[in-house]
Symmetry: C2
Subunit: 662 residues, 2 copies
């Protein structure tokens, strides 16, 4: 199996997105989301719950008096914002934004203690109680996010200040935790620092950080449980409620078993995928086959048995958690935005372990559907929960669905998701390619218009990718070799064959001529000596497909979803009336596609034949139940991309639609 | 509109059930449920949560040392048991049981204070805090249940001791609550005493109790809210959680509005229907037209928009509550047993207000399905929640369905339901007939084999009813007149035309000859001068029907239920395999019926053509989603009566089944 060097090895500026679809998003992040979130972090968004994040740092730095505000992990919101800024500055220099970020970093430095410790909650509210409640208090989690910010900001600007701050904190953590006598043998209640320490190692080359990450991963789940012992030491209390609480549920944060013995995804889904991400990093960097096998088992369980068609994960809001195999209710779903982002992180690390198209398929599914759909067109409103079926009145009046919002919200008291979206979208250029210099192979995982430069064993190669996805599936790659590349460059362009392409083998043309190729692990290998100016066309005509779910997924029985390329579609009340449950797709429906430039900023809509229960023919308005007689009448249905739902008036939405025939 | 005197006016022994189907149940209650529950009340059921009920009374009576145990309303379990015993003794004298009950009543007397106050929780655990937390503490609720027990025991045995105890307590309550200066202007957080005081009035003739009931009903929902003021006085605390709590949710116990302004059922469903029952009683006894109109509005809302086909009510376990119109999820349902019993109480009172078959239809629906289904064949296991769809693994592993049990439980920590079933089933003889002496009319609401005697204006009449429901729909009434009834007796036998009879007009035969009749409010009037020995046959041949739900009930869209006579059917995994979601009823299915003497104690099973998704034909076990292609293959389906579900190995169950055509 080919081992691939990390895409992290690519300097960030070496892939630049040049793509109509995605540029809209990166511009939205740059021009709207980042400034808006800065206002939010400073409690200046009217009508939104205050963040307190900056205020906490000012108090911790001694610049202001006051109480700590917000969640115990509030520091991480500033971290995620700074991380997004780092990515954004790498692609779009912006001195004004950089000045704001530099000032924020100065503030962070002022809030750091002599010994490197940095956490505004404990500095302001519970000094002396540091590291006494790893289960609840998110100290290492916040540290991890700030490390990720430090690396991104260093990569984006070349400025080391935050990196140095976080290395000092990492050194302090390393002195505090470990198996050596006198150290705490703990680990965080919310995994995050494990993947962040890998990034810190990759940015600094300091192996201490890699080993510390390994320690946290290997220690987790050891018996007797650190969390149970810590709970006893704390007097059985919790950060979250008054009084005493039961012994911690170890499945919740995946510390019920040593990680390498885990096979089934359980517990809080964000914690899980952040941990799996670090596990895959460590498996790659240390060649740990056992850890890799665990990653593969967990990947298979998550993506084959516990993932929604939108790439959402987490079937229950109780603990924001996985439930069990094939339990994927559409209306009481959780499918948290952050969990899909974490799944994307995990997928990317799996791609680095081994280039298999399956990983990129899932990455793309989560990106184009769950994650994109979490943000409004204006970049200022967000879903935390991403349902596949919404009845607004039920969200309002049935408490079991209160977590399912029918409209995107401004900002959340626990506002992990919006900055997570920002940092993903502003670093999307890192997800497009993988490169194996030794094999002279460039993997194109995602079809996103971009300019990229690669250092291969055979020399330097540049690729310009042109793509009109998600609306059109023709992708073109233009090869540039330095100085005209006399004699050409021998390398393989490995083009992903997407799982959504279902019409035989896609056509590959080089300079207009169809060429044969072999497929390895789901990638078409275009292996040749490429000349400067060569063009490779990868033809993936998009077709609308009706999709069925595995028969064990009870929630989707007798239903179909609509998918076109990577986009999942949905019905909205705005187009189809209500109740949507009264509609069914005709079994022999031939979907028609049409680009509607005026709808939701321009999108391909899918129209197809259906039937509707004729509500007016119901026997007696006062009768809830009556002898069955067929009441279906023809009704054309109109579907829009899922990621655009909820951008009009609040109404019903449904991804899975009944079929007129079982 | 005919006003009918209360069936309560009938002495209990005057209707005796003689019916193969129902005798099994009354015998089960007498021989198993009542003795078993006595063991439970005494904490002698191995493996079941202790009740503490008797122990609490012994401690309160000073006969034993110890702490209060169980719920704050634990006294009511003993009350409901005594009420059931009262009904049972009326029909089946049993000196041994009567001795046990008499001793328990002596114990209750010993636990009563000088001033009449009776509540073991406050006597043992919080003396001095009486009446300070009406919202949470169920004092008046427990009093109400003990009043009901007192009346039933008095009616069943002629013994006044408990009646006297409860009159003393009622007098104390009357001195404590009211609009007069110096009295508390409160009312109970859980309605129950309102209907109990009506019974106490009817048993004693003391109008004070009727007026006290009126006071509680009229005071409820007045602004400013007593519960909010009480919460402030209490320091914003709650009985249920530590620390302070938000202001009470007044919808929860229907105190958000004065009761006569209410139109939509909200909040805790048992509280609601107990209150509506008392409202209907008061409307009847006081001729209060405004109150009656409120009862009719609330009846219509509950039964037309918020009731499951099984007669279950309460769509969410959050607050065991109504949610909103047409929100009737089958799998996260609540449909508490006690709520359906309360609905039966309400229906009976509405029948007393006005004989409309609709009330009896709902009563029968709730009785034969939700309520009967709550108890196991052995009488020792009970459902609290009565789902219409069960996936046992989801009940175990998805916290949103933890309340939905796949198997009946032995006894509950909060065990309101089992004794409620016992008291209903042992008083079922009171639900069969209504009589209007002035109009010389006997209403047959339920078709249950029985012997009954009626005092009409025209004299005394006895009826022997023969019925083989729910398996066969031929019902016969035999008239007996005292002393051979020379000259006959002129009266109308008003026979309910059940809503489930859908084949035109049922045939009525008198002494073998078909006779014409007119229908009034859903009752066929067989009005004539009856002779001793006359026989009236009311022919209601049972046909299996596929039933559809109102198009606004989204959970049932594209699905049908199966009903035969009053019985709703369901599919079980034991007969049909799993997942049940993969099955669909053929749109043109012709149900076949067959009595299976060996199945579940003997029942009519329904077999019909269906289709099943061929799981083996699913493209790739590892793919959760794949392009749709029809995978249906023919599959015969077998349905069993819903009330019998869950009496075999734990498995899936579903009432609403997909149809093969929309």
């Amino acid at each position: 199996m080919p081992m691939i060097t990390p895409t992290n090895g690519l300097r960030v500026p070496e892939v630049r997105i040049r793509d109509d679809f995605w540029n809209d998003y990166s511009e939205l992040v740059r021009q709207t989301v980042i400034p808006y979130q800065w206002e939010a972090l400073n409690d200046r968004v009217e009508g939104a719950e205050p963040s307190f994040a900056i205020r906490n740092f000012r108090i911790a730095a001694g610049l202001q008096e006051g109480e700590f505000g917000g969640m115990v992990f509030q520091d991480s919101d500033l971290a995620k914002w700074l991380e997004a800024v780092g990515y954004s500055l790498a692609n779009h220099p912006d001195p004004e934004l950089e000045k704001i970020a530099d000032d924020a970093i100065d503030l962070i430095g002022q809030a750091q203690r002599e010994n490197g410790y940095l956490n505004t909650y404990f500095t302001i509210k519970e000094p002396g109680k540091e590291w006494t409640n790893l289960h609840d208090a998110h100290e290492l989690y916040c540290a991890g996010h700030m490390m990720e910010a430090a690396v991104a900001y260093y990569n984006g600007t070349g400025k080391r200040k935050l990196l140095d701050i976080m290395c000092r904190f990492a050194d302090h953590i390393d002195e505090t935790f470990g198996t050596e006598p006198g150290k705490l043998r703990g680990y965080c209640g919310h995994q995050e620092i494990e993947l962040a320490l890998v990034k810190l190692y990759e940015a600094t080359g300091n192996e201490k950080y890699l080993k510390l990450s390994q320690y946290f991963i290997d220690e987790r789940g050891r018996k007797p449980s650190y969390f149970v012992e810590e709970w006893e030491r704390r007097g059985r209390t919790s950060h979250w409620v008054q009084g005493t609480v039961p012994s911690p549920n170890l499945e919740y944060n995946q510390s019920h078993l040593p990680v390498r013995e885990q096979s089934v995804a359980v517990g809080h889904s964000v914690r899980a995928v952040y941990m799996y991400t670090a596990m895959a990093d460590l498996a790659r960097l240390t060649g740990d086959a056992e850890l890799r096998a665990a990653c593969e088992r967990l990947w298979n369980n998550v993506t084959r048995k516990q993932m929604y068609i939108t790439g959402g994960i987490g079937s229950t809001h109780h603990g924001e958690a996985f439930s069990f195999d094939y339990d994927l209710p559409n209306d009481t779903v959780y499918a948290e935005t952050c969990a899909s982002i974490g799944l994307i992180f995990f997928a990317r690390r799996m791609l680095q372990l081994e280039a298999k198209s399956e990983y990129a398929d899932v990455l793309e599914r989560a990106l184009y559907n769950n994650v994109l759909g979490s943000m409004s067109k204006d970049g200022k409103h967000f879903f935390y929960v991403n349902p596949l079926e919404v009845w607004p009145e039920a969200s309002a009046k049935n408490p079991g669905k209160h977590h399912v919002k029918a409209v995107r919200q401004k900002w959340f008291g626990c506002s992990c998701c919006p900055p997570n979206v920002a940092r993903l979208l502003s670093s999307l250029n890192e997800y497009i390619y993988g490169v194996s210099p030794d094999e002279n192979r460039i993997y194109a995982h995602l079809f996103i218009g971009s300019e990229a430069t690669f250092e291969l064993g055979s020399g330097k190669v540049s690729l310009e990718q042109q793509s009109a996805l998600p609306w059109d599936g023709r992708v073109r790659f233009k090869v540039s070799l330095p100085g005209g590349g006399a004699g050409g460059a021998k390398f393989a362009l490995a083009l992903r064959v997407p799982a959504w392409f279902q019409s035989g083998r896609p056509e590959l043309r080089v300079n207009g001529q169809a060429v044969e190729y072999r497929v390895e692990n789901g990638y078409a290998l275009a292996e040749r000596t490429w000349a400067d100016g060569d063009e490779a066309d990868w033809l993936l005509p998009l077709e609308t497909k009706l999709i069925a779910a595995h028969p064990q997924i009870r929630a989707d029985a007798g239903r179909v979803a609509i998918q076109r390329g990577p986009l999942v579609y949905c019905l909205e009340e705005a187009d189809n009336g209500a109740p949507l449950a009264s509609l069914a797709v005709s079994a022999d429906a031939k979907p028609a596609e049409r680009f509607d430039a005026d709808l939701l900023g321009g999108c391909v809509v899918v129209e197809l034949d259906g039937v509707a229960t004729d509500g007016a023919a119901w026997s007696d308005e006062d009768q809830p139940y009556a002898p069955y007689r067929p009441l279906a009448k023809p009704k054309p249905l109109k579907a829009v991309p899922y990621y655009l739902w909820g951008n009009r008036e609040a109404g019903e939405m449904s991804v899975w639609i009944r079929t007129s025939q079982a």
